[in-house]
Amino acid sequence: MTPLLDARGLFAGYGGLDILRGCNLTVAPREMVVIVGPNGAGKSTAMKALFGLVKIRDGRVTFNAADITNARPESLAPRGLAYVPQEGNVFATMTVEENLDMGAYTRRGGIAEAKARIFDLLPALALKRRHAAGELSGGQRQMVAIGRALMMEPKLLMLDEPSAGLSPKVLTEILDAIAAINAAGVAILMVEQNAKAALAIAHRGYVLAGGTNRFEGPGPELLANREVAASFLGG
């Protein structure tokens, strides 16, 4: 099967310093892929580089067989690529509903139906639709962020640490929601600190360290790998 997203030999970073050094990532249609690794491994940088927010110095990214290396971020949503950054992932001064409207900014038609589907999928949001996103709890904000990203009905949803700062109970809710989104046919590429919980629901995982791939394989296999566990998953 041809991959949906294919990144080859990425070199990228900030101010002349490469954080990614030859990193490769692929995601197949409908696949759920998790990236784990120690702090500073370049996980978030990889996500930003894929989405055009950090300049790629060398390497190539294709999405749906089209070259999107260093594409302008605003050009990617209409192509079916969605991204939820780790921080600042909602419009805090806008209502939940307006956040969803912004997610559909480049969409023509079917906005009301898309919104209704998201309120079905994430019912907690429906109750808060007129609240400013900045006033919500961390878990609800994450739901808003994911809801916004889904408004374009993306083929691939990229999530950067969706569980950051959330309680274990809320983490489970978020991961369940992500699994449900994936089951509905949306491919997922997710960076996650909670490696065990994330790898348990993923089809495949990457272990990134020092800006390059260290291990990759099916989620359970990585979890069972002693070397991976000892070095990267906290034993």
Binding site: Y83, F91, Y105
Partner: protein
């Protein structure tokens, strides 16, 4: 009571309208482009004189030519951005360079006005208006009713635009979180042009209203900069409707401090601009996010 309303409160509200129409542009440009636009007062002057030229050319009353003056000043705003600010790289790390550039633009606009219209004070129309009497005691000048009424219409239209239109929401999104706006597919250019067009059009209205209320001079807009920035901060920077309300507070406060509350005027009218200065300093110390929810950069 009647004297208080006639001579102080109404004047304060009219002043607030003028400040507000300028402060909306300042706060919008700050929200979207992240710099303080110090040429905004002189853009108001330009708008007022563009209207004067149109009055001279057409012989029509100034309110008739106001829409065209707003369109032309909107184009001036977009043109100034394109010619002076964009080449310096707005939205990058060079904010202070662009702030300084805006001082330069302020001088250029003012000098252009002086070059074409001279430095003498002019008015749109000679003669004076008889006040309309309300409830036998409250006198309001027709021009004040026009200024207040049209400002309410413009601000209400802006509110509806920002709240319900696709582009309006994109402008709020870009002001709230520029990275996420781009991730959502919002192109920066459209939003930036919209900010200049709206800011320029409202600046023209504010300048014309000040000209109608008093007179036109090449310094008229520059003198408004301090109260307008105070209004923008008071309303929460990046929040246009907040800026309009903040301007109302500043305008009314400036007039009311000159009211003889205890026999004498509290402060001589010559010092009333100290009020906006005090409001600005106080806000920056105690409440830099403004009275409504704004953001600090």
């Amino acid at each position: 009571m009647a004297e208080f309303v006639n001579l102080y409160l109404v004047n304060g509200i009219v002043l607030g309208c003028v400040y507000g129409l300028g402060a909306i542009g300042i706060t919008m440009i700050f929200g979207i482009l992240r710099f303080g636009h110090f040429a905004h007062g002189d853009m108001m002057t330009s708008g007022a004189y563009i209207a004067l030229a149109l009055v001279w050319a057409s012989g029509l009353p100034v309110l008739w030519v106001l829409p065209l003056a707003m369109v032309l000043t909107a184009a001036l705003g977009a043109g100034v951005h394109w010619a002076f600010y964009r080449p310096l790289g707005t939205g990058t790390h060079s904010t202070i360079i662009i702030v300084i550039a805006s001082f330069g633009v302020a001088l250029m606009l003012r000098s252009a006005v002086q070059l074409f219209f001279g430095v003498d004070i002019v008015t749109y129309k000679r003669g004076f208006q008889t006040p309309i009497l309300v409830f036998d005691t409250i006198r309001v000048l027709p021009r004040h009713l026009w200024i207040i009424g049209l400002t309410v219409v413009l601000v209400a239209a802006l509110h509806l635009f920002l709240k319900h239109s696709r582009l309006g929401k994109a402008m709020r999104a870009m002001s709230d979180n520029p990275a996420l706006a781009r991730i959502s597919g919002v192109g920066t250019t459209r939003v930036v042009i919209a900010a200049w067009v709206i800011g320029g059009a409202l600046a023209a209205a504010g300048g014309v209203f000040l000209g109608i209320d008093t007179q036109l001079s090449s310094q008229m807009g520059w003198n408004l900069i301090l109260p307008m920035f105070a209004a923008a901060v008071l309303g929460g920077i990046g929040n246009p409707i907040g800026a309009a309300l903040g301007a109302l507070v500043v305008g009314v406060a400036e007039e009311l401090v000159t009211y003889p509350w205890f026999g004498d005027p509290l402060i001589s009218p010559a010092y009333k601009s100290a009020v906006s200065f005090a409001i600005l300093v106080g806000l920056l110390i105690w409440r830099p996010t403004g009275l409504t929810r704004g953001r600090v950069f």
